[in-house]
């Protein structure tokens, strides 16, 4: 039985509008697009205002006046509407960039460089396990070759012939990783699509 729930009806119609884009761009898709962009805009506005109130204002009214910097920096972003004072916005941006960049990179040397190198330090000979030996050699060779592939400076590369060969192996290692990832994600992608189809066929049409 087809559903009588108005929410599901709206959802189903919007779902079909989006799917119609697969055929070609059309007014229905455009309607869905503008709907979701408008909704998202409202949503993001509320979330940001809430963040300002919960993180900043809440502290300020308890007498934590250091948060005045946040409000000042935030308001300075609006200086860009006055060309002469537009440079003032850099003060706000500078705080964001300084903090976020250092937050982003501060943990990387440990987690993304040293730990990964450590992970590839595997025995090149596993006694009594030929398969394990081959596996470990593959891991080490691919790690090294792929890093070398990413060396950009000519002066820092081995002779061109060797560099080409290593680069080739490195690319193969890289593409193995890409292929593995791709093959693995298809299932999740299909899960989402199947969920939408179930929504249309079962929740809405009630087949």
């Amino acid at each position: 039985m087809i559903t009588t729930d108005i929410g599901i009806w709206i959802g189903a119609i919007l779902t079909i509008f989006v799917f119609s884009f697969l055929y070609k761009d059309n007014k229905f898709f455009r309607f869905a697009e503008y709907t979701v962009v408008g909704a998202a805009m409202g949503h993001v506005l509320i979330m940001n205002v809430n963040a300002i109130i919960q993180i900043g204002w809440a502290q300020l009214i308890t007498g934590n006046y250091i948060y005045l910097i946040a409000f000042l920096g935030g308001l300075l972003l609006y200086s860009r509407f006055w060309k002469k004072y537009a440079w003032l916005m850099r003060y706000g941006i500078a705080i964001i960039i300084g903090t976020s960049t250092s937050l982003a990179v501060r943990a990387a040397p440990k987690a993304e460089i040293l730990e990964q190198i450590k992970g590839s330090m595997v025995p090149l000979l596993v006694p009594g396990d030929a398969f394990g030996t081959i596996n470990n050699i593959i891991i080490v060779v691919f790690t090294i070759a792929t890093i070398l592939y990413f060396i950009f400076t000519m002066e820092l590369r081995p002779s061109p012939k060797i560099a080409d060969k290593i680069g080739r192996v490195g690319r193969i290692g890289l593409y193995c990783a890409l292929g593995y990832y791709l093959g693995n994600t298809v299932m999740t992608r299909f899960t989402f699509l199947i969920d939408r189809l179930q929504y249309l066929l079962l929740s809405w049409l009630g087949l």
């Binding site: 799917f19 805009m41 920096g73 003060y91 705080i95 960039i97 990387a108 890289l174 593409y175």
Partner: protein, 213 residues
């Protein structure tokens, strides 16, 4: 001129540097609790400043779509609809709060279906992309195809039933992936760290404008 350059470029660069030093020292050094707390406060301040920028976004949306409506450019009535929905979401959200039933209803029946359907298009796009562009034009792509074929069949629910070897081969593909995966992460991280250091040292001129360079 000198003065304005200091104000316009040098001080912002100094701010970037100081924020960076505080945040990085907080992780690497055994800093006193007060320093640690100020690093946390700094992050919250940055978050609030970032949230403040939403006004710029709203201004941009209003100008762009307002302009489209004024000029009656193609599809201007869609722009009206966009602004109407923006207003509805904002008003309901502010009046009742984003966790209220009213807001949830709007969110789940209008925002979520489009959102999820956009996401689910991945399923069809990936089929098309694999069919159309996934051709063994060289060894690298050939290897990539073979690896993803075995991963696909090993992952498919029916794979293990067809032949118990398929899931095992998929497990082995994980080994093949490890080297490239690790190297990719290492090298990207080196790039990111170097970029971060350049930013903190004020070498990335683009982000603070060229004035003063």
């Amino acid at each position: 001129m000198k003065m304005s350059e200091t104000l316009k470029t040098k001080i912002p660069k100094l701010i970037i540097f100081l924020c960076g030093v505080l945040t990085i020292a907080d992780l690497y050094l055994n800093v006193p609790v007060s320093v640690h707390n100020s690093a946390i406060t700094l992050q919250k301040i940055a978050m609030v400043i970032s949230a403040f920028s939403i006004g710029l976004g709203v201004a941009s949306i209003l100008t762009h779509h307002g302009g489209a409506i004024m000029r009656r450019t193609g599809g201007w009535y869609f722009s009206i609809w966009l602004l109407v929905l923006f207003a509805i979401f904002a008003i309901v959200g502010f009046a009742y709060g984003p966790t209220s039933d009213q807001y949830m209803w709007l969110f789940n029946n209008i925002f979520v279906p489009v959102n999820q359907t956009m996401y689910s298009l991945l399923g069809v796009f990936i089929v098309y992309a694999l069919y159309r562009t996934f051709q063994a034009k060289n060894i690298e792509v050939g290897v990539m195809i073979v690896v993803s074929l075995f991963t696909l069949i090993g992952r498919a629910p029916i794979g293990g039933y067809l032949w118990s070897g398929f899931p095992a081969i998929r497990e082995w593909c994980k080994i093949l992936n490890l080297g490239g995966y690790r190297a990719f992460i290492i090298v990207s991280a080196i790039g990111a760290v170097a970029m971060g250091i350049r930013v903190l040292l004020g070498r990335e001129t683009s982000i603070l404008g060229r004035g003063g360079e």
